[in-house]
């Protein structure tokens, strides 16, 4: 796949405070790449530096076919985290203004806007004032505004926040469709279930630095070890003495055994003591959500043991 965006060693400081440091990643044509991290990790600053809204102190941002630092604004679509549209204008006027700013033909933009309004359940709302729309509807209009000009690179900062589950599903489908049609998508979100469903690769950062970078599959293979959840009353010492158990967490009715990397689930199950009380047992991988929480709470040193091929930590 062609690389649409290359970010190399990006660094930015505000008042002597390093906000981001040595940030490097690529976004390829037709892929959905997630930028993840807790609040204040530096995601929005990274995005603003890519967009040319801010300028990095170090490093470069390079778009395919352009010199480093040159931002081809008409080829980028952007849905910022801070949602906003002019309140006292009509929906269609707002979308067409955003298309005009991107040098996109207005006639074509109008047709696309009508199509997307219909697709996102806003048919007939073109002449409605934005202040009359609900928050979710406004977000859909803003989403349309970000893709109206058929961008090569689409940057979505928290696209699912504030949406009801139905709208989230609509957005998810639309994002996947755009990627299938060749748009490179950089997506920042806190909704890990959504990220797991739509993203091909992810870049997780904390305190302005890279923590994990790789394909979702590799990340899960390398960092998302298996965990075994057992429902039943058992002595903690017995559980801790089971081979290849990294740590034990007791919850209300169940105990979770976090297993070491590279275990073979079937073989490991055979190592369980016969006298173990088991009412229910499940074995699955640690979710991205749990990885995220561990990163955000600085527990990842316990979780991530090694570096996998194609995955960087």
């Amino acid at each position: 796949m062609d690389t649409v965006l290359t970010v190399t060693d990006l660094g930015k400081s505000f008042k002597n405070k390093r906000v981001i440091e040595d940030i490097s990643f690529e976004v390829k044509k037709g892929e959905i790449m997630a930028v993840l991290g807790p609040n204040g990790a530096g995601k929005s600053t990274t995005i603003r530096n890519i967009m040319g809204i801010m300028y990095p102190d170090e490093g470069t941002v390079q778009f395919r076919g352009y010199r480093p630092g040159e931002v081809p604004r008409p080829k980028i679509g952007y849905l910022p985290e801070e949602r906003g549209l002019y309140k006292n204008v009509k929906v269609m006027d707002m979308i067409l203004y955003l298309a005009e700013l991107k040098d996109y033909p207005l006639k074509k933009a109008k047709q696309r806007a009508l199509d997307y309004l219909k697709k996102l359940g806003l048919e007939g709302k073109g002449n409605v004032s934005i202040e009359e729309l609900s928050k979710g509807m406004g977000q859909k209009v803003q989403f349309i505004g970000s893709i109206i000009h058929e961008p090569e690179l689409l940057i979505l900062d928290e696209p699912f926040s504030g949406l009801d589950p139905v709208s989230q599903e609509v957005f998810k489908t639309e994002i996947q469709e755009l990627a299938n049609n060749g748009t490179a998508i950089l997506l920042s979100s806190h909704q890990m279930n959504m990220v797991e469903q739509v993203c091909d690769r992810l870049f997780m950062m904390n305190r302005g630095k890279r923590v994990i970078y790789g394909t979702l599959e590799d990340v899960k293979n390398q960092y998302a070890n298996f965990k075994c959840t057992i429902k039943g009353r058992n002595d903690r010492h017995i559980l801790e003495s089971i081979p290849q158990v990294q740590r034990v967490e007791s919850r209300e009715e169940a105990t979770v055994l976090y297993l070491e990397q590279d275990i073979q689930p079937a073989a490991w199950l055979r190592t369980l003591p016969d006298h173990l009380q088991i009412q229910e047992l499940s074995i699955d991988r640690i979710s991205l959500h749990e990885i995220f929480i561990d990163v955000a709470t600085d527990n990842h040193s316990q979780l991530f043991i090694g570096k996998g091929e194609g995955v960087h930590a």
């Binding site: 603003r48 980028i76 679509g77 801070e82 549209l85 203004y97 955003l98 005009e100 700013l101 803003q142």
Partner: protein, 407 residues
């Protein structure tokens, strides 16, 4: 620049579709017209014709008709043969009428009785004072004086001021009203242009603040640079200001041509007008740079600090000096204020509309100072706007703004 023009077009379209802007666009000239011509519209006095019946026992009827015509009085003068004793009754029977008894007895006593109907305007009695001179002439004629003696005594003595200095030499015939209007009219129009574009310029403050409040800045800035956004707003609101002036002119010029008896268009289409309009433009650029940058520091207009509120009053600083400016448009205060960038545009326009001779050297230096100030203000505005427009959640403090200037 292309992107700036796109932003400008958007601001123009958005405002021209806004009900509040359209209402103010139309209502302002209407209010202005009502204020300007209100007295004429409501004061029927000055329009309505009064039928003046003259009982002429002393042979001055023809002179009275001439005096009324010469002074453009709305009098319909008619001779009457009725007796003075009937006047109170007659005057009750006729609307807008007056009876004047020019009797020998009245002339000798020095008191002429004027009988007016109830609806006769109050100004009428004042107007009858124009009759004093022919009646005094008549009084004197009866004293058998020579024509020259009568003319000298009848004229009386009046005091007339003659200004000193440069103009004194040419003031022999007194100031020419037409010449004064030639300066005053372009000055008044340039002042109106400055007022209008500065007022719409103030809308930039709201627009920049709204951009932040409605959190649109970031999405717009993904397509244009901060400088382009700022420039677009300045250009857009300039066009709106000019549009406003054009609409005002459309209302006011035909009305002025109809109501006033001087060649308005001839006075407007003079080379001096270009200089005055250029000064108005410099004023707009200076104030708009200040408004757009400070507007970007305000997210919540209702909690705007005194500092930001004070910024809005900057264009009105010259009002404080109105007294010295009016009393001497070429005095020290006026000269100093011409070189202070924040007061220069309006003070220059005011002075130049008053002065017979334009001080060209002063004008050139003042405009040079203004242009340099605009360059500085735009540079500073760019720095403030760039940081402030993306700072959400609070209004910037003067300390922060100061820091950004030097960042």
């Amino acid at each position: 620049m292309r992107n700036s023009l796109k932003v400008a077009r958007w601001e123009i379209r958005r405002n021209l579709k806004s009900k509040s802007f359209l209402i103010s666009l139309i209502s302002t000239p209407i209010i202005f017209m009502l204020l300007s011509f209100g007295s004429a519209l409501f004061n029927k006095d000055s329009k309505e014709m009064v039928t003046v019946h003259v009982l002429d026992e002393i042979g001055v009827y023809e002179q009275i008709v001439q005096v009324a015509t010469k002074n453009e009085l709305n009098w319909n003068v008619q001779r009457t043969d009725a007796n003075e004793t009937e006047f109170p009754k007659l005057v009750k029977e006729q609307d807008q009428s007056a009876y004047i008894a020019l009797t020998q007895e009245g002339l000798e006593n020095g008191t002429i009785y004027v009988y007016m109907s109830q609806d006769t305007p109050a100004r009428f009695l004042l107007e009858t004072r124009v009759l004093e001179e022919p009646l005094r002439q008549q009084q004197l004629a009866q004293l058998e004086l020579t024509d020259k003696q009568m003319s000298v005594i009848g004229k009386g003595i009046q005091m007339e001021a003659v200004s000193s200095g440069e103009e004194a030499a040419t003031a022999g015939a007194g100031p020419d009203k037409a010449d004064r209007m030639k300066k005053l009219i372009p000055g008044a129009v340039a002042g109106m242009v400055l007022f209008s574009i500065v007022m719409t310029g103030m809308m930039i403050f709201t627009s920049a603040s709204q951009e932040k409040k409605e959190k649109v800045a970031e999405i717009v800035l993904s397509s244009v640079t901060t400088t382009e956004l700022m420039q677009g707003k300045i250009i857009g609101y300039f066009v709106l200001g000019i549009t406003q002036v054009m609409v005002w002119m459309l209302f006011l010029i035909p009305l002025a041509l109809w109501k006033m008896d001087f060649p308005l268009l001839e006075y407007l289409l003079v080379p001096e007008m270009l200089v005055l309009l250029f000064i108005a433009l410099t004023g707009y650029l200076l104030f708009s740079a200040i408004f757009v940058s400070i507007g970007a520091t305000v997210e919540d207009m209702s909690s705007t600090s005194n500092f930001q509120g004070m910024i809005m009053t900057i264009p009105f600083i010259p009002v404080v000096f109105l007294g010295p400016l009016l009393s001497d448009p070429n005095g020290l205060v006026a000269k100093v204020l011409s070189f202070v960038p924040l007061t220069a545009p309006s003070v220059l326009i005011f002075r130049l509309s008053q002065l017979e001779q334009w001080p060209w050297m002063e004008i050139i230096i003042a405009i040079a100072v203004l242009i340099f100030s605009i360059w500085l203000a735009m540079k500073a505005a760019g720095k403030i706007f760039k940081i402030a427009i993306l700072m959400y959640g609070k209004n910037a403090t003067p300390k922060e703004i100061w820091k950004w200037l030097w960042a």
